[in-house]
Structures are given as structure tokens and as C-alpha cells.
Symmetry: C2
Subunit: 246 residues, 2 copies
Amino acid sequence: MHQDLPVRDIQPNGNGASRDPRLLEGVLANVPLFRGVAQHQVADLAARAKAIHFRRGATVCGRGRCLPGLYAIAYGQVKLAFRSEDEERVARIVGPVETFGLAAAILGRPAPYEAVALDDSLLVMVPSAAVLQMVENDPRFARAVITDLAERTMKLLAEVETAALHGGVQRLAGYLDALAGNGENRNCTVRLPTTKTVIASRLGIKKETLSRLLRDLAHRGLIAVEQREIAIHDRPGLAALAREEA
Amino acid sequence: MHQDLPVRDIQPNGNGASRDPRLLEGVLANVPLFRGVAQHQVADLAARAKAIHFRRGATVCGRGRCLPGLYAIAYGQVKLAFRSEDEERVARIVGPVETFGLAAAILGRPAPYEAVALDDSLLVMVPSAAVLQMVENDPRFARAVITDLAERTMKLLAEVETAALHGGVQRLAGYLDALAGNGENRNCTVRLPTTKTVIASRLGIKKETLSRLLRDLAHRGLIAVEQREIAIHDRPGLAALAREEA
DNA sequence: AGAAAACCTTGACCTAGGTCAACTTGAAGC
DNA sequence: GCTTCAAGTTGACCTAGGTCAAGGTTTTCT
């Protein structure tokens, strides 16, 4: 796990940005993307990176704005969402040790989504130039980037598939099953990472519909809901439901 | 353009596979992914690759089967589609000079989609091992792979966005506009790359709905449809429609 | 603690797009 | 030229999920 890094204890300075190299290096070293990169290289990267603190609800990057680089999350949570006037669709909820903006940073393209902090969050931003340079100079890092992007591609394809082939209940069931992780305990309890409204948007449905679907699953005896805590009573049943047709 | 390569004239041998190094090298050299790779390296790759011919309707790779490597299209067309019993959703229509299977090949994962030839097609398959090795040995190629994957990621994100935020008409309008390319001729005529049924699935709607939507657009004076030929009468109007809300 | 602001739930109703079924058209083989 | 078959069209109807409106419940802020 990543909890071995006491980043929560480190206070970023008041106006939200920090450059404490210890903090930065520690955070980056724990990001899977940088596993397999020599320590001094990580230090280099850290020297050029910046830690920025965002209050819950603050916008990390508006839609269409150019991302200054790759973001890694030290603590907190960020949602990446598409929007259009009165419509919002959450593409991904990014948590500690994860990164976002890699593809956009590499191509130097504007962000296709907007990024908003769901909780008070500490992000480490590695400037595009630093990432690009490291891609050129360190084949191991280049390799890590390739793996990361390939994995993202597969995830997105899976996303498109479920969106196209499965209905709301199935997607919800699949999501809960995924939340429960790989442990195969028949019944366990999971906690939704954020508000139901955001989860709904992440699942491509409206909060009202999520509400009804959760009620249905509860009726069927598959789960029990108590606010953000969801007790899973029949994991295999849930998994089976997720695999069903439209 | 890619038409400078007379691959259509080269006959693959009867049982569908060929190893003529000239053919293979020529095809690969024209694939953007291999631009910037030294010629002898391409020759190396070609030596390990295989050309395979598929009749229209033949399956290149069943869903969930492991892809033996990266596929490049010399001529013809392949659809990548998700399926589930009686449901099919086309994720991408791949044409000459394009490739598919890069992400899966790199991760050694089974294909998330099935690949079926839409026309008689000649594909060149570069084994995963060869791709991986080249990633390790040639930083320029590694860089090209990174760019390609990043671009694919952005495309998929755009896909998810339009699927989520735009209705059928908008998606269709956007698709037609994209087909018309970057030329800004106010009226031009485009040809659908394949049957309307497949196009519909690519757009995430049913053929019946596509039929009705095309009729609507024609009514509105934006286009005129004659079989696969679509005359665009008001390009800006079409583009504007594509950008509208849900 | 108390007020204000999010968040969630529920019911009544609506709509984009899907489903089913009949019919037309066009291309492919004999 | 006639048959066959796949592709496309059209109409009547259906349904998953969205929209609107009205409460109810947590949080959050002062």
C-alpha cells in the first residue's frame, strides 16, 4: 500500500504551492509510473516538480485549458469530467498514487476534460518538458510510460464496451464488484469513494436512477445500503449480474 | 497519401499467408507508426512479420483470443467490435496504413474486441515479441509507440465524451463532418466506408435509427443521400449541429 | 446550536431510441 | 432475365432512463 508515506502530515504552504524536495520525491517514488526509475532520476524530476494544494471543489484545470504537465495525487481525490453547459459526465475518479494528464502532457494537447478536486487534495505536477526529457533519456521510463498508456487504452475500451453493451444495473453491479477488489469474500462491505451524484455520473446515469437502482439491488437481497457504506451480501450474484446482457 | 504503394497488385499466395519480404517491408514502411524508424530496422521487422489475406466477412481474431501481434492494414478494411450474444457495437473501422492491436500486443492481453474483415483485406502481422524487442532497442520507435498510444487515448476519450454528451443526430453530424476531412469546401460529397448497418453500430445506434436520422438531415437540407454517397449541402450547419447539446 | 447549503429519495410523467414486422431496393449468382 | 439474398426503409409500438417537482437528510458554516 501507499500509506507508508506520511504525506498527510506535511503541510503545504499557505497559498497552495510547495517545492519541498523531500515531499515531492517521496510522493513521486510511490507512483507506479515511476517504479523502476533510478532514485536519482526521480530526485531530478522532483526538483522540477511542484506540489499544489487544492481545496475541495477547486478546479485543477478547466476544460480545454492546456495541462502544464503530468499530475500525481499525493492525497485526496480528483474527478475528471466532460461537460457542456448543463450536462456533466465523469470520466474517471483519480485517487492517491494515481496520475492523470499523461497523454495530454505528452502530446501537448489541451485537456479533453476538466479536473476538479473532490476533497482537499495535494497534487504534484511534473512539467511536460521534464516528462518528455525523461522519456528521451531513460528507456526504462519510456517503457513504463508505454505500459501505462497501453493500460489506459484497455481501460477505456472496456469502458466503451460496458457503456454500449450493458444497462445501468449491470454497470452498477460491475462497479460495486470492482470496488470490492479481488478478495473473494462472499460478503464484505465497501465505501463509495465520493457522493452518489458523482458516482452516478461516473456510471453514466442520473442520481435519481442510481438511487432507484441501489434500491432494486437491495430489494433483490444482493446488497444493503447505508449512506456511503454498501454491504455486499451476495458477491457472486452481483458479479453474475454485471456480466448479463443489456 | 498511401496510394503510392501498389500493394493491391501483389497477390498473396492461395492459402492466405505470405512472407514476401518486399511486400512486407513496403507495407510497413508506409505505416505512420514506423515513420522515423531506420530502414534496416523496418526490414528486420518485415523479416519476422507475416502477410495474411482475409476474405470479406472472415474473422481476423475472435473476441478474447490473444492477438499474436500488431496488425497493419495493407489494403481492405477491418472492423473492431464488441459483442455479446445478439448485440454488436463497432468500436473502430480500421483502414489501409492504420494499425490495430498495439495496446493488447504490448501488454500480452487478449483482445478486448473481435476483428472482422469488412472487405477482402491484406493484413501484415508483426509478432508481439518483435514489437517489444524493437521498443527496447530503438528509442525512436519507443517514442513513436508512445505518441500512437497517447493519440489513441485521446481519441477514446473523445469517443466517450460524444457518446455521453451528444445524441444520435449530433454524433451522425460529427461523423459526416469528420468524413469530409479538413478541406473547408462548403459542399462536397463523401462516401460511407461500409454498409449503413455497420456505420450505425459504429455510431452506437441501430440501423433503423440511422435511416431515420439521415432522412431528417436530408429534410433539413443539410445533406442529400444516395446510397453510400452523401452530398453535403451545408457543411457549417452540419458542424454546428454536431457541437450542439444532448 | 441553529441556519444554510448540499445531497439524496420518491413519485408522476416524458422522450430518444430500440424492437418488431412488413415491404422495397439493389447487388450477386445462375 | 429471373431468383435470391443482404441491405435498407418505414410504420406502430415499447422501454430504460431522463426530467420535474416535492420532500427529507446530512453536512457545513457561523
